[in-house]
């Protein structure tokens, strides 16, 4: 793992992955959107509104996935003091916040025609809202402490405390069986969703995953370059006059 602690090595790896991830993102998104909007049946109960699902469900999955990425990065940063792990957490957080917001907003837009209301205080909705607050708190804590190293480690502690919320989100639909429907894909007894809908859903999930890879690597590179710039500035500031 510490092989990638060297920023130059990480940058090389990122540069090697990025074109592939970008290509995969474009292809999967194109295919996924085509199937989602043109080549999948309308639901027998929900009609055409079912197509919101292809945007909504992968966003919700990615909201949790990104939080776990952030949590693993935080753990790595706190335990092994891995130099890039703090940056990884910082790079992942805004992406996760956007996925969470997207899941909430698409869910609300779907909920209005289906449930007759934009919002209910159901277990799933509430716990995902808490997830959004955790992302915002993590980013706010990064922002609030002057010294970057300390800010990152404080935020990491918060991220790890917030992991408690992830199983609550996953199982909220089973514990409080209120409005939000239970899982239909990731079940122990196999998916209960029809194949014609599962295919576009999985394509979209792949597209989201590739999108995450692209933006995450970009942001990591950005963070590394920003650090380099800060160090270079400091060095040139402390250099004796006329040394240039």
């Amino acid at each position: 793992m510490h092989r990638f602690a060297n920023p130059a090595q990480f940058n090389r790896l990122a540069d090697a992955i990025l074109p592939w991830a970008t290509g995969a993102f474009v292809l999967l998104l194109g295919a996924g959107l085509y199937y989602a909007f043109f080549d999948s049946p309308p639901d027998y109960q929900q009609g055409e509104s079912v197509r919101v699902m292809y945007i909504h469900v992968p966003a919700a999955w990615m909201a949790m996935f990104t939080y776990m990425v952030m949590a693993v990065a935080s753990f790595t940063a706190l335990v092994w003091r891995h130099p890039l792990a703090l940056l990884a957490g910082r790079a992942a957080a805004p992406i996760g916040a956007v996925f969470t917001a997207l899941a909430l907003i698409t869910g609300m837009l779907w909920g209005k025609p289906m449930w007759g209301t934009y919002w209910v205080w159901d277990g799933r909705l509430t716990s995902v809202l808490v997830l959004l607050f955790l992302y915002l708190g993590y980013m706010a804590l990064w922002q609030a402490i002057d010294e970057e190293e300390k800010a990152g480690r404080a935020a990491s502690i918060l991220a790890l405390v917030g992991v408690v919320n992830i199983p609550i989100i996953k199982f909220s639909v089973d514990w409080w069986s209120t409005l939000h429907q239970p899982a239909s894909v990731m079940r122990l007894d196999g998916p209960t969703i029809d194949g014609s809908m599962l295919m576009p859903l999985l394509l979209m999930a792949g597209a989201y995953q590739a999108y995450f890879a692209v933006v995450f690597l970009w942001r990591m590179k950005l963070e590394i370059n920003r650090r380099k710039l800060a160090v270079a500035r400091q060095v040139s500031m402390h250099a004796p006059v006329g040394a240039e």
Partner: protein, 228 residues
Amino acid sequence: MSAEVKSIPMFMALVRRDVKLAWSQGGGAMLALGFFFVAVSLFPFGVGPAPQVLARIAPGVIWVVALLAAVISLDRLYQADYEDGSLDDLMLSPIGPIGISAAKVLAHWLSTTLPLALLAPAMGVLMNLPDQAYGTLILSLLVGTPALSLIGSVGAALTVAVRRGGVLMLLLILPLYVPTLIFGVGAVDAAMSLTDPLPHMALLAATTLIALVVGLFASAAALKLALE
């Protein structure tokens, strides 16, 4: 004397000192109780004095305001000691960072949140809480408020070095209070509608126990980080 023998009297001394400080001139305990009283009595003005409406929202209002009252007294939990340097001294003592957080949390609970739980029945009278719910209200607050102090301690420790960190602390810990609030209010609501509050109470106790395990470790880690 060995470290273990010395650490228990030290722990108790720290708890006693913090309880005393909270109740002396400039301490936050009276402030929290005053806030609890005033904020609850605003609700009848806001929603109107109809007794049925007040009774319906009473458990939620009392719990939410108690929670906020606990929070406003939390931002000084470590900060005063951090600013005058005594936190550095304490960290070197045999009780260690986990012992410090445990003592601070216990002192905060004894001095601030426990009095809130004891004052709650009076707030119940103001909010027209039905007779059958008083016992559960006090019990749910007794079981749930340690979680408020514990989770709050994490937020206070994380923001101890932040200037004007109070609002940031609120942003960090209020979302984490949601389970405690849900189960606490759920228990009182159940008692109000004459159903069994025990399942809610058990979940509330579970939340408090999780907060005990996670909260002390996270607070200790945050304190160590702040004092590096």
